[in-house]
């Protein structure tokens, strides 16, 4: 398909949202209901501080949402919300299967070597013991296939899974114990005694660098002679920025419940990649893909940490050995030992500028920790490729290899930590120039993509800056560091640019079934890890088919459904939206084949009609209308089903496509103790059309809170002597708590992207970028202290 119909501009939307309140409402929407469509578009009032959600630009292309009659843009409450708050949404660890046993894991305590002795005797004698699986008795299995050329691969490493006596990282699972209860399994696992023959391991960053680094070719770019330009620049900043290891801490720890039925495997997973996982498990276990059925309807946060992991494999293998269903829930410690997170980075960030502020050189190079088997590069320089106009550019990423759990993708991998360096350095240049940092950014706004000259699909970050500055009260900021004090507290404001590349996946596909009662069911193997996919897509379907959301059932996260749509790269909504638009076209064509001569639509072509008011109508004469129910009833059909796949996502090859944000922060730093408290935040976003203001605002706030953790508190204590993570718990690994989080204001430009499906670009990762720098820059403004190493704990400010 083309994501925009006809002229290459966003389509004039054919179907107004259903206004007929006489329709039978069904499902949870019927119970907890959305208000009428007309009221929804512009009247979202969130908690205090949320503010107006859509700042419609005068330059906005004409699309339906801006005219205020569609479901897209409506602040619908989450469809899954009532189920979740009532405890009725079943998560992966909540499926109680007949005859099920519980798994507990034993983790290695050395980083490298081999298992010398493994005594399971006491465990086997423990109450409730069922089975222990180690490398001695695990079924022969293939390693998982990491993300890469294979479109169905979603592994985080390619290491053998309990296939030999080798230990490859500290925390590797070396035994699975099954027992009749979780407590019995945990106890039996604690009785397993292991000794090791340790081998020298690389567990320190310094050693890893000394061993020699390797360049990640894809991230090496040079335009002009950036070193020479930097040396000649009137003003320059050239500094080292450091970010620590960080770990995934989704509220739901990784879990899986599995059952074999003969040679068929059923997997209740907590996943952001159900089809990938089905394929992966089949490949690993040596069975056919059709023999594995993975579902994951509810996921308690994923953030890049819930693709294919070894825990699903261990559960499936142990269930096969035991001949019983298995539930395996990672403890919080287990998540740290097995899942990985952000790599440690040491970044050189340099900017050379003219007196008028224009950049002549940007250099973003440095080293990230990595494992030989990880598919996730922690590509921090990536953010500098498209951010600013510059006379010259150099980026490079070196990998330093350690013997540790493979790092994982973690919300805006690379960009979250890279934007800390870039956006801090921009602030440093602004200070050196005596220029306002927003003005400096605007002066360096590129007209085309700085790397390849491609046109931007839609870039309104300047408007986001201006709108945000006004709303935040930026003009009241005192540019002199350390000049504002209230009692013990030094007050400062800072800002930073958020940006995240647009993605649409290739694997979009949907099965759409319209039934004669006028309801529609759409199946796509996509995912909702809490961000609101189900709700947003229901709105997109309702809008496209001119139905009320109550008439739409969107089903997802089942490997038996069409589509290959991992929840990654902030791409799900765009991918699914493109698929829905295509499915609508196919449905219209299919319905026209059912039109009889006595229908008001008789004789019309697919180009002449479109969905309107729960049926089809002639586009230029809506009085020629027939409801879906009437069309199907007249044709004596119970239902019509179409399967659709959109065209390949070429839009991002033809243009430079990103979402943007202007991130603002006010901090208070205690002059006595160095404690930092964030007192205000604002995200002014430019992300194309917003499908649902409620779920979008939550996404933005969540990302900003995650960035608070990145900036101020999060730090995996990876003991470089042993390669062991020492704070694998939410008590000692500090994410922001409620008391740390102030009111967070979110606004957006609301300017649809004419080259993105439904005018919407991705938003899932956007706001975790730029925000950490905004906080660090605010701390500089408050104290005059430039902290280039995260997290900015109080000892760095005393």
């Amino acid at each position: 398909m083309s994501n925009v119909e006809g002229s290459g501009r966003p389509t004039q939307h054919e179907g107004a949202a259903q206004q007929d309140t006489s329709l039978t409402r069904r499902g949870v929407l019927g119970i907890f209901g959305a208000a009428g469509a007309g009221a929804l578009v512009s009247t979202f009032t969130g908690p205090p501080g949320v503010g107006p959600v859509s700042l419609v630009s005068e330059a906005a292309p004409e699309v339906l949402v801006q005219r205020g009659s569609g479901w897209v843009g409506a602040a619908l409450s989450r469809i899954d919300g009532p189920l979740k708050v009532r405890g009725m949404a079943r998560f992966a660890a909540e499926f109680a299967l007949d005859d099920m046993v519980y798994a507990a894991l034993v983790f290695s305590t050395i980083a490298k070597g081999r298992i010398a002795t493994l005594d399971t005797g006491a465990a086997e004698a423990a109450p409730g013991f069922v089975l222990v699986m180690t490398h001695r008795n695990a079924p022969r299995m293939q390693p998982m296939v990491p993300f890469g050329p294979n479109e169905k691969a979603a592994g985080n490493d390619n290491l053998p899974i309990m296939q030999d006596d080798r230990v490859r990282w500290n925390g590797q699972p070396i035994a699975v114990v099954l027992a009749e209860t979780q407590e019995q399994a945990d106890h039996a696992a604690s009785l397993i005694r292991v000794t090791y023959e340790a081998e020298p391991a690389t567990t320190s960053f310094a050693q890893a660098k000394a061993n020699g680094t390797e360049g990640a070719v894809y991230f090496h770019h040079e335009i002009g002679d950036a070193e020479a330009e930097l040396a000649a620049a009137a003003v320059s900043v050239d500094a080292t920025y450091r970010t620590p290891y960080q770990n995934h801490n989704a509220i739901e720890p990784h879990a899986v419940t599995v059952a074999w039925h003969g040679d068929e495997l059923v997997v209740h997973d907590a996943s952001q990649s159900v089809v990938h996982n089905a394929w992966s498990l089949a490949h690993i276990l040596g069975i056919e893909e059709r023999q594995v059925h993975v579902t994951s309807p509810y996921v308690g946060g994923a953030f890049g940490g819930k693709f294919m992991g070894s825990h699903q494999v261990l559960a499936a293998a142990a269930a096969r050995l035991a001949g019983r269903p298995v539930r395996l829930t990672l403890s919080r410690e287990g998540v740290y030992r097995m899942v990985g997170g952000r790599a440690l980075t040491e970044q050189r960030m340099a900017i050379g500028a003219r007196r008028d502020g224009r950049f002549d050189a940007i250099i973003h190079t440095g080293t990230a920790t990595h494992t030989r088997d990880s598919p996730h590069p922690e590509a921090f320089p990536f953010v500098s490729l498209s951010a600013y106009a510059t006379g010259s550019l150099k980026t490079d990423l070196q990998w330093a290899f350690l013997d540790q759990v493979a790092n994982a993708a973690m919300r805006a991998p690379g960009e979250a930590v890279g934007s800390f360096a870039l956006e801090s350095a921009v602030d440093e240049v602004a200070v050196a120039l005596g220029m306002d940092p927003i003005e400096l950014r605007i002066r360096n706004e590129p007209k085309t993509d700085p790397l390849n000259g491609a046109e931007f699909s839609s870039r309104n970050v300047v408007k986001a800056w201006r709108d945000g500055a006004e709303r935040f009260g930026w003009a009241k900021r005192n540019p002199i560091p350390g000049a504002v004090r209230k009692g013990e507290w030094l007050v400062g404001m800072g800002c930073g640019t958020a940006s995240h590349i647009y993605n649409r996946e290739n694997g979009g596909a949907a099965r759409l079934t319209l039934t004669s009662d006028g309801t529609v069911t759409v199946d796509i193997a996509t995912h909702d890890a809490g961000m609101g996919t189900e709700t947003a897509q229901t709105q997109i379907i309702a809008e496209n088919l001119a139905l009320h959301p109550d008439q739409v059932e969107f089903r997802l996260a089942d490997s038996a459904m069409p589509g290959l749509v991992a929840g990654r790269g902030s791409s799900q909504t765009t991918t699914v939206a493109a698929t829905v638009v295509e499915a609508k076209k196919m449905l219209v064509a299919e319905l026209l084949t059912l039109i009889r001569a006595d229908s008001p639509l008789a004789g019309l072509t697919a180009q002449q009609v479109g969905p309107r008011n729960a049926g089809l109508a002639k586009l230029d004469d809506p009085t020629r209308h027939e409801t879906y129910t009437a069309i199907l009833t007249r044709a004596k059909r119970d239902k019509v089903t179409v399967e659709a796949s959109p065209d390949e996502p070429t839009e991002m090859n033809e243009r430079s496509m990103h979402s943007y944000g202007a991130m603002f922060c006010e901090v208070r730093v205690n002059a006595v103790t160095g404690e930092t408290r964030v007192s205000r935040m604002l995200g002014s976003m430019d992300c194309g059309r917003v499908i649902n203001p409620k779920t979008a605002a939550s996404q933005f706030r969540g990302g900003m809170i995650m960035a608070m953790g990145l900036a101020l508190t999060e730090h995996t204590h990876y003991d470089e002597r042993t390669g062991r993570i020492m704070n694998p718990s939410l008590a000692e690994y500090h994410i922001p708590v409620h008391l740390d989080v102030p009111e967070i204001d979110v606004i957006w430009t609301g300017i649809p992207d004419p080259h993105a499906p439904m005018g919407a670009r991705g938003i899932g990762e956007l706001s975790v970028t730029g925000t950490a720098a905004a906080i660090a820059n605010a701390i500089y403004n408050a104290t005059g202290k430039r902290i280039r190493e995260l997290p900015i704990t109080l000892d760095k400010l005393m």
Partner: protein, 327 residues
């Protein structure tokens, strides 16, 4: 978690009798002990639940308070007498943990909570002299940002994590005990030990001895008290440094001062050097700073925690200045 037996005691005598019969640990709210059981750090054969013991707060004739060991932290912090007469204690409790944990935690359990040193908890992967005497200490060369700056030994650099105990130490609280040999009392400041060569021995409690109550002596009418906790996030984090202070100023001079630090040592740290330097002297910022420095003269830094010395200096100075300045 190891299998164990569980018994609920109806009174102190029964608790002591149960505990004497087997290798038992007393269970209060369980907010720390259950963690320790689950991690395998503690492996008692029996738990004796003492949450059914008296949970009352009684006024003493001398104006003090007698607080039952089973009183929940939340109840203690909300008690009117505590809030009005011992604000340092109410504030210290409310600075700790989370509301849910405070609802469960008891006074006795809070006093006997164990260190949060990560190496202490990592039974499979790390060495710890407190957990396994003679094994060695992995914290000394490892992550020790939160560890002790006062009173540590080459065997152990762990800290006592309690906020409440810092306040109790500053208030000259007395702990009431009951054991097989009968009842006795100990000043709270003497209950906990410094690690020395035996960090596994944390208190002067005899085996099976039970904390039954904590007694607060009356405060002079002119005394003011405060608690300040410095930590890495706004809530649900242990103190890097905390200061509990009781100050009585008359005519610009320090009539009486009692000062205790949390998060800096193996026990709630009563800052007697600072008190001695202050008592009878001028109540000025300069004197407060000098007193803090006198106390911390003996402080030593590990690799990561040197900042805590200056942080303690500053926090002590600020708290005393705040108390002296208040009308």
């Amino acid at each position: 978690m190891n299998p164990l037996t569980y018994a609920r005691a109806r009174d102190a005598a029964e608790a002591v009798r149960f505990a004497g019969a087997r290798d038992a640990t007393y269970l209060g709210g369980g907010t720390n002990l259950v963690d320790l059981l689950r991690e395998g750090v503690e492996r008692p054969a029996a738990l004796v639940d003492v949450t059914g013991l008296p949970a009352t707060i009684t006024k003493r004739r001398n104006g003090g308070l007698l607080i039952g060991a089973a009183v929940r932290n939340t109840a203690l912090a909300e008690d009117r007498d505590v809030r009005t007469r011992y604000p340092v204690l109410a504030r210290a409790i409310l600075a700790g943990a989370s509301a849910q944990i405070r609802n469960m935690a008891t006074v006795g359990g809070n006093i006997l909570q164990r260190t949060r040193c990560a190496y202490f908890y990592d039974i499979d992967g790390s060495r710890c002299n407190k957990r396994t005497p003679g094994q060695g200490c992995d914290a000394i060369g490892g992550f020790n940002r939160t560890h002790a700056i006062l009173g540590a030994s080459s065997a152990c650099v762990a800290t006592h994590p309690s906020d409440m105990c810092a306040a109790l130490a500053a208030l000259d609280a007395v702990v009431h005990l009951e054991g097989a040999a009968g009842a006795r009392t100990l000043p709270l400041t003497e209950l906990h030990r410094l690690p020395g060569d035996h960090p596994e021995v944390e208190t002067l409690l005899e085996p099976g001895e039970l904390i039954t109550a904590v007694e607060l002596p009356p405060l002079a009418s002119g005394a003011r008290s405060a608690y300040r906790k410095v930590r890495d996030r706004a809530s649900y984090a242990f103190a890097l440094v905390s200061v509990a202070a009781v100050l009585e100023v008359k005519n610009g001079r320090v009539k009486d001062v009692r000062l205790a630090l949390g998060g800096v040592a193996h026990k709630p740290w009563r800052a007697r050097e600072a008190e001695n330097a202050l008592r009878g002297g001028p109540a000025t910022a300069r004197a407060f700073r000098a007193a803090a420095e006198a106390e911390l003269d003996a402080a030593t830094a590990l690799h990561d925690n040197g900042f805590k010395i200056e942080l303690a200096n500053r926090t002590i100075t600020a708290v005393l200045a705040e108390l002296a300045g208040r009308k």
